[in-house]
């Protein structure tokens, strides 16, 4: 990690985005006092990471969902949570009600006595989230909370995260899922070994920078693409029967675009404006590309 400077406000949901190996998990581990930092300064809830007298306070303050859920397969769902409740010194009565509440919220109560080994990946993930919250932490770190989940489970987890926000908890999410980040995060930081962008999700989605026009054609051919390119507009991307073109001023550029396509023999079926997505911002900043560039 280098050059990482950011501040996450109390009660906000912060998304930490970046490719594999960018240092997202390392950052979370450092902030949770799981590994030592070699230099720099970090504070969680006002306590200094790495200071001996503050480490235990930080551990009490945070709940962590690691990248690998790491549950005890041979124990039941309830016993898994109860163990961590004990480790955080929660009294028995409080532990019992907290565990019941979490298991009911995450739709796991009926399976509380079943061994974790019998659970699907999605159920394990939900149980691991419950474990991260069993001591009612103020700050929650979630490392890839919806990774490998089916859409239904992922949606349930996202709703749960939004519920945490309503409770006033600070949530720090490591994710590859840009759609998820866009849906649940107040702000995001994009990491590529160092932090390349940070800000409110809607601010990062700067329309001027990412505005695109989508033209759906009967057939995309070389003549049409050549005509579009000669206009000197933004990036031209072919996606099946669609041509996606970056435009600076849609009012002026779109009519020119359509005229050029029709002039080159293209048959336009529809024209629409693509809403900018976090994926666009991410790919632009991280330097990747998923679709074939024309």
């Amino acid at each position: 990690m280098e050059g990482l400077t950011l501040r996450v406000e109390e009660g906000e949901v912060f998304g930490f985005l970046g490719p594999n190996g960018a240092g997202k998990t390392t950052t979370v581990r450092m902030l949770c006092c799981l590994i030592s930092k070699t230099s720099g300064e970090a504070r969680v809830g006002g306590y200094e990471v790495g200071r001996r007298s503050d480490v235990e306070r930080i551990r009490r303050l945070v709940g962590v969902l690691p990248e690998s859920v790491g549950l005890y397969d041979d124990l039941s769902a309830y016993r898994n949570l109860d163990y961590y409740g004990r480790m955080f010194d929660r009294p028995e009565g409080e532990r019992r009600s907290r565990i019941e509440g979490l298991l009911r919220t995450l739709d796991l109560w009926e399976r509380r006595d079943a061994p974790v080994a019998t659970f699907s990946k999605g159920v394990r993930q939900r149980l691991a989230i419950a474990r991260a919250l069993v001591h009612d932490p103020q700050v929650v770190f979630l490392d890839e909370p919806t990774a490998n989940l089916d859409p239904e489970s992922a949606k349930a987890v996202r709703e749960f995260i939004l519920g945490l926000k309503k409770e006033g908890k600070t949530v720090f999410i490591n994710t590859h899922n840009l759609d998820e980040a866009q849906k649940v995060c107040d702000r995001v930081g994009i990491l590529k070994t160092r932090l390349v962008a940070v800000g409110a999700t809607d601010r990062l989605l700067d329309p001027a920078a990412t505005r695109r026009t989508v033209v759906r054609l009967s057939r995309v051919d070389a003549a049409v693409l050549a005509a579009v390119r000669t206009l000197g507009l933004g990036d031209v991307v072919v996606d099946g029967d669609r041509v996606v073109v970056g435009v600076a001023d849609p009012d002026e550029d779109n009519p020119r675009l359509v005229r050029a396509i029709v002039g080159a023999g293209g048959r336009v079926r529809s024209v629409s404006e693509a809403a900018p997505t976090l994926e666009d911002v991410y790919l632009r900043l991280v330097g990747g590309g998923r679709r074939d560039r024309a």
């Binding site: 581990r29 949770c32 006092c33 799981l34 590994i35 030592s36 235990e56 551990r59 009490r60 945070v62 962590v64 690691p66 690998s68 859920v69 790491g70 549950l71 005890y72 397969d73 041979d74 124990l75 016993r79 163990y83 961590y84 004990r86 480790m87 955080f88 010194d89 691991a128 474990r131 991260a132």
Partner: protein
């Protein structure tokens, strides 16, 4: 250090261990073999009339001491698992995120290895004692156990040997970083006690109660030194990065 927290860690490990059938088999295998196999050897020796009363005493003292060696071998399975096995199963990271101190985690893990190891060694030794007493009573007309040597073995040598092995395994686990290598190296914890046994069998020393007490005093000193090494080498912030 809060002992209750260490006990919470140990109790959880014991519960998990109790549900791992094959780990349990490997845990009880050696004590069972020793408790049943050694009396068979004694029975064969007595049956052939090849050993005198003194010979029986030497043989049984040596066999009694074997339980100290057993106590060094048994914890290898659990002590290596306690950190590295948990890391392999990915359950270590959430545990390290809890507010338990290094000392509480270390003590809890050591207790989780020590308690079942001592338990199965004592059960094995008890079976051995009962079977051998049955044999000596039937063949020689007296009960060989209890005696001072077995008392010293069970009350001093076995717990000290077991603690030595657990500590050595934790140190090895923290330095080696690979479960299999760590378990294999962990068996080296039996070398000092095995060495004493070899010295006794080659008549360099004997295993009477007095000499056993001396061996135990030395083992206690080594245990205390190793405990300090254990505390010095256990750094939870390094576990996730250094341990493979």
């Amino acid at each position: 250090m809060r002992l209750s927290k260490a006990w919470t860690v140990a109790a959880n490990d014991l519960e998990v261990l109790g549900r791992k059938r094959y780990t349990l088999y490997s845990l009880i295998g050696l004590p069972v073999v020793a408790s049943l196999g050694l009396p068979i050897v004694v029975s064969l020796a007595l049956g052939r009339g090849e050993v005198s009363g003194t010979g029986v005493e030497v043989l049984l003292n040596a066999f009694s001491f074997l339980f100290a060696i057993v106590a060094t071998l048994v914890p290898t399975v659990i002590a290596s698992y306690s950190f590295q096995g948990e890391k392999l199963e990915r359950s270590l990271e959430p545990l390290l995120a809890t507010p338990a101190t290094d000392g509480e985690l270390l003590l809890g893990k050591c207790l989780a290895a020590l308690i079942p190891s001592l338990g199965v060694t004592y059960v094995g030794a008890s079976i051995f004692v009962v079977l051998v007493d049955g044999l000596t009573r039937a063949r020689l007309g007296y009960l060989y156990f209890p005696n001072q040597t077995m008392g010293a073995v069970l009350l001093l040598a076995v717990p000290l040997a077991c603690a030595f092995s657990v500590e050595a395994n934790v140190v090895i686990a923290s330095l080696v970083g690979d479960l299999r290598a760590s378990q294999q190296l962990g068996t080296l914890a039996s070398v000092p006690f095995g060495g004493v046994f070899v010295l006794a069998e080659t008549n360099f020393t004997s295993l009477d109660a007095t000499r056993l007490a001396l061996v135990c005093a030395l083992a206690l000193a080594i245990d205390l030194v190793l405990l300090e090494v254990c505390r010095a080498t256990f750094r939870r912030e390094e576990i996730l990065t250094r341990w493979k």
